[in-house]
């Protein structure tokens, strides 16, 4: 569903990813892991059509990303960023309704099917009761869910999320990732999200894309564990990560 070939990303003279290729399938939840500053956000932004790339090609659902108009791209891929959005007086239904932008007319008015999509998206993330609440009166976790509902309302085959779990507590993190896994498997969506939670990546996801700068390795979870790459990347003098058990040992 997402394919990139010989992709080189970076800014200025700094190269983050050098000549990487991978194919992220539909109907599966894929975690993007890597140390801080190794280009997880940069990759997601490039795949969403936001960033500049230095070399290589990106195909979304079989189509070259450069050949897509902004609107066609918005019908193909949705992105949830790390930015915390809190606009006073903006109701949840309005935020989620913005996700319908590629399908509405110039005034942005929601027709029957748009309103139905908004209601369905809010229900999918368990926020149906919050439709008329404004975001300035909600917790971080609730806001995060609303932003995900907005991406769902966009009805794209591909959804990218940048560290969606970072503001959430432990139960909420698992709940959110379970939801993402369900959406990917039940609705056949291609969902790629970056995360620092290795335990979640290895227990709830179907495959893992690991950034080992400047390379990227994409493998099914079991193979990724066997490869030993995760231990090598996430261990230093102070800690050691055991991918098989998901435990962190202090040395």
């Amino acid at each position: 569903m997402i394919r990139f070939e010989h992709l080189t990303l970076g800014y200025g003279r700094r190269t983050l990813l050098d000549d990487v290729s991978a194919s992220i399938p539909a109907g599966a939840l894929t975690a993007l892991v890597g140390r801080n500053g190794t280009g997880k956000s940069t990759l997601l932004r490039a795949l969403a059509g936001l960033g500049e790339r230095q070399r290589g090609r990106i195909l979304l659902a079989g189509k070259e990303i450069d050949g897509l108009t902004p609107r066609r791209r918005a019908e193909c891929v949705a992105l949830v960023t790390t930015e915390r959005v809190r606009i006073p007086d903006l109701r949840c239904r309005d935020v989620v309704g913005l996700g319908r932008a590629p399908y509405t007319d110039w005034t942005g008015r929601l027709r029957g099917e748009d309103a139905a999509a908004v209601a369905r998206s809010l229900a999918q993330v368990g926020m149906a009761d919050y439709a008329d609440r404004t975001m300035d009166s909600m917790s971080d976790g609730e806001c995060q869910r609303v932003m995900i509902a907005r991406a769902l309302a966009q009805q794209t085959p591909i959804i990218l999320l940048d560290e969606p779990t970072s503001f959430l507590d432990l139960p909420n993190r698992y709940e959110l990732c379970t939801l993402l896994a369900r959406l990917a498997r039940d609705e056949g969506k291609c969902i790629l999200f970056s995360t620092h939670e290795l335990d979640i990546a290895l227990t709830l996801c179907d495959s893992v894309a690991l950034i080992d700068p400047p390379q990227l390795h994409h493998l099914p979870v079991a193979e990724m564990i066997r490869s030993g790459r995760i231990e090598r990347l996430f261990s230093n003098d102070a800690v050691r990560f055991d991918a098989a058990t998901g435990r962190v040992e202090i040395r």
Binding site: P70, A78, V85, D89, L90, L98
Partner: protein, 335 residues
């Protein structure tokens, strides 16, 4: 209650605009009873002097008040959304200052160079100079504002612009002849009443076009609430939308500043009043809401300024400053 809140608020605001419009026509140095105002407007029987005051002085002024209020408020709302900054507005960002500089160059600079022209030419020249000045400041603010989102930085930048413009204007004043100087000083006091019918013929279409452009960007503005990145992922051509917003703001704030002088705080404060009234953030509600609220506020300011015989921008400042303080306190405690 909640379901009917928005239509009800729109109805009340429209009624307020109509009522204040008539009161504005009746107030002035000569008090004219409402019945005679009506007669003068509809061509009924009144003294010719009364008819003249109502039709050719007060009617123009009231129309200018409505246009100015709507124009400044809508331009302020667009700036606040585009820069994602609750303190943005044409005056604070220095857009009015840019327009002032243009006007100063025109009023003070043209005579220095020995240029004189017909009334129509000077009307057009003044508007053109104000548009150019407003657009120039917008481009600079946009270049800086994209990198920096701190509320205070934008404010300080606006202040710097205003001070810089002040210095240049003082230089021009020092060099200028008495007549041009007087014309400029009176202009800086801000007045809704100095607009001639000839100027109105340029002001109304320009403000109308600015408002029409703002209506055309309601959907982009809604998307920009979430920021540029999100807007782009939802299919918005951000570059083009920003250009349309700038064009609209230049027309709205530039035109008003050219003919009425710098009128402060309306553009900043009125969108917040509209948000309080409507409790909504989407521009399909807020944009017409801000336009109506702005018309109400400026008609009120005009009526008060006539009672107290003070320049209208002193009234807008006294009304606007408490709202600005409230906004600063509210957003500081929220973050």
């Amino acid at each position: 209650m909640m379901r009917h809140r928005i239509p009800l608020t729109f109805a009340l605001l429209t009624a307020a605009v109509a009522a204040l419009f008539v009161v504005d026509l009746a107030t002035g140095s000569v008090a004219i009873p409402l019945g005679e105002v009506w007669a003068a407007l509809t061509g009924g029987e009144t003294a010719p002097a009364t008819a003249k005051i109502v039709r050719s002085i007060r009617l123009i002024k009231a129309v200018v008040a409505v246009a100015t209020g709507a124009a400044l408020s809508v331009s302020g709302l667009q700036m606040q959304t585009l820069f994602r900054n609750p303190l943005a507005g044409p005056y604070v960002l220095g857009i009015s200052s840019g327009a002032s500089l243009g006007v100063a160059l025109f009023i003070l600079g043209a005579p220095l160079l020995g240029a004189t022209g017909s009334a129509a030419l000077s009307t057009l020249g003044m508007a053109g100079a104000a548009w150019a000045g407003a657009a120039a400041v917008l481009v600079v603010i946009a270049a800086v504002g994209r990198r920096i989102r701190d509320i205070m930085v934008i404010l300080i930048l606006g202040m710097m612009f205003s001070s810089g413009v002040g210095a240049v204007v003082q230089m021009l004043q020092y060099l200028s002849h008495e007549d041009a100087l007087k014309a400029f000083v009176i202009w800086t006091m801000g007045s809704l009443g100095d607009v001639t019918s000839g100027q109105l013929a340029l002001l109304l279409p320009a403000v109308g076009l600015g408002l029409a452009l703002s209506v055309a960007v309601v959907k982009p503005l809604d998307l920009l609430l979430l920021g540029e990145h999100y807007a782009r992922t939802m299919g918005l051509d951000v570059r083009r939308s920003r250009q349309l917003v700038f064009l609209s703001t230049t027309l709205l704030a530039g035109t008003v500043t050219a003919f009425c002088g710098p009128i402060g705080f309306v553009g900043l404060a009125v969108p917040h009043v509209a948000r309080l009234l409507f409790r909504r953030a989407d521009h399909r509600v807020l944009l017409p809401g801000a336009a109506l609220t702005g018309a109400v506020v400026l008609l009120l300011c005009d009526i008060v300024s006539k009672w107290l015989t003070l320049p209208v921008n002193t009234i807008t400042a006294l009304l606007g400053i408490p709202i600005v303080v409230w906004v600063v306190v509210r957003y500081q405690s929220a973050s």
